[in-house]
């Protein structure tokens, strides 16, 4: 476990410059949104609409930066030749993303508690649902990255980055016009659904990790 911890630490060292910027974005973006948004009384229910794409984008940006550094220095080759082995390298990558998401979610929830005015707040159930969505997306994305190499799949990532602002404004418009029922989202945010989403997200992450290990163990580096 100590070895995996060292590999996770290495990932965060690789993005030590980008990480504070990303966390600052997680703080600043919803504040700006809350200040700008009208009508103010509707802001509180917009939490999942803001948090979902924002957390997904920021988690992905961290993963993207780590992958670019790995690609540039080919450090994975060095690590795979040491007793770390390939299995631990894969496990560490999944754990890094989990820790990243926890950091982002904690930052967002903490800031939403501290802000005294109307704010797009989320509770742990919404965090769980976003975790499930992100597990599905990154579960597939990481599989592809381990199979084909990050260079080949990063174009999908760029699409996500460009699509996020459009997605946020579209979700906002749908929510305002009633296409997405915020009440429905609220009704989904039950404890049972939150726990199920959390468990399902973890399960998907683990399944993806096991398949990635199998792919990476057989891959030429």
């Amino acid at each position: 476990m100590n070895m995996v911890f060292c590999l996770v630490k290495k990932d965060f060292l690789l993005v030590r410059k980008a990480l504070p910027l990303v966390l600052a974005f997680v703080i600043v973006y919803p504040i700006v949104y809350a200040v700008e948004f009208e009508p103010k009384e509707a802001i509180e229910s917009m939490g999942p609409v803001i948090f979902g794409p924002l957390a997904s984008l920021c988690t992905f940006m961290i993963y993207h930066n780590i992958s670019l550094e790995e690609q540039k220095h080919r450090g994975t080759q060095l690590l795979a030749a040491t007793p770390y082995g390939r299995r631990k390298i894969v496990i560490a990558k999944y754990l890094t993303l989990l820790v990243t998401y926890i950091m982002i979610a904690t930052t967002y929830v903490a800031i939403s508690r501290l802000i005294p005015f109307e704010f797009p707040r989320v509770d742990w159930r919404a965090v769980s649902i976003v975790f499930l969505c992100l597990s599905v997306f990154l579960g597939v994305y990481l599989l592809m990255a381990f199979k084909f190499g990050y260079a080949k799949v990063q174009v999908v990532g760029y699409l996500l980055v460009f699509a996020t602002p459009i997605l946020i404004s579209r979700l906002k418009r749908w929510a305002e016009s009633g296409i997405i029922s915020l009440r429905l989202m609220e009704s989904l945010s039950t404890t049972g659904f939150g726990l199920t989403a959390l468990a399902l997200g973890a399960l998907i992450g683990m399944i993806s990790c096991v398949i990635s290990i199998d792919i990476f163990e057989r891959k030429d580096l």
Binding site: K10, L13, H73, Q77, L78, L79, A80, T82, G85
Partner: protein, 286 residues
Amino acid sequence: MSKALEVSNLNKSLGGFRLKNISFSLELGCITGFVGANGAGKTTTIKLLLDLLKKDSGQIRYFGEGSGADLTRVKNRLGFVLDEGCLYDCLTIAEMKNLVASAYSDWDDGEFRKRLRQFSLDPKQKITTLSRGMRTKFALSLALSHHADLLIMDEPTSGLDPLVRSELLDILLEYMKTGDRCVLFSTHIVSDLERVADALILIDQGEIILQEDKDALLDTHRIVKGDKDKLSEQTRALFMNLRETDYGFEGLTDEAEAVQKRIPDALIEKASIEDIFLGYTRRRMS
């Protein structure tokens, strides 16, 4: 002498390149030079040895252990320096060391600090600020600080100035002093091997064409120079390769006595490793 590494019938296809039935072994107590032109298959072979590439077929046995040997245990006894460096530029020397050290069960921090002092490396220095020579020295420090029994190096002296190259070769000789260690040293700068290698493996176009004790190789091969008109069908057959000009010929032979008998006035000189390497490689090309 016991064997540190035995490779038999190793095959690997990679794009348009093929490594064909590679077989060789490394004795403990020896520095073995792995020589070949660019693209001959040195890096592919080394990547297979380090489990970075997956073999199509064949066997790699470390320290006499069978193919089912515990890979982690084997890797704990291996030190390596990769051609591309593969170091994280944005980390400091100390951070990179901490990362690598955590992987090895027998990491020796005292030994690492000794190497850093020897190479005048500052632990707080970022890897990106290191020169090519300093990077190689740092990579070597990482490779030597867990008491590895087998050191595998892929072109460690490539791109280095003669002074740094000489320093590195001294370190290899010092590393070998305990006697129960082994080095595989790939290079296309064959002059480095004259000084340190005990044995040579020559690879060309994905095939091993020679594995021999260095001194035996130097003893048996000669460069012959003489008049071109002394060459006949029979004498030509005694040479591994021949270079003919308007003024005469120069060729490599491993049958110096026979050449002496047939061309008594030929000039026969000792061959260097470079002559032998070029001779074998050109013979295959022709």
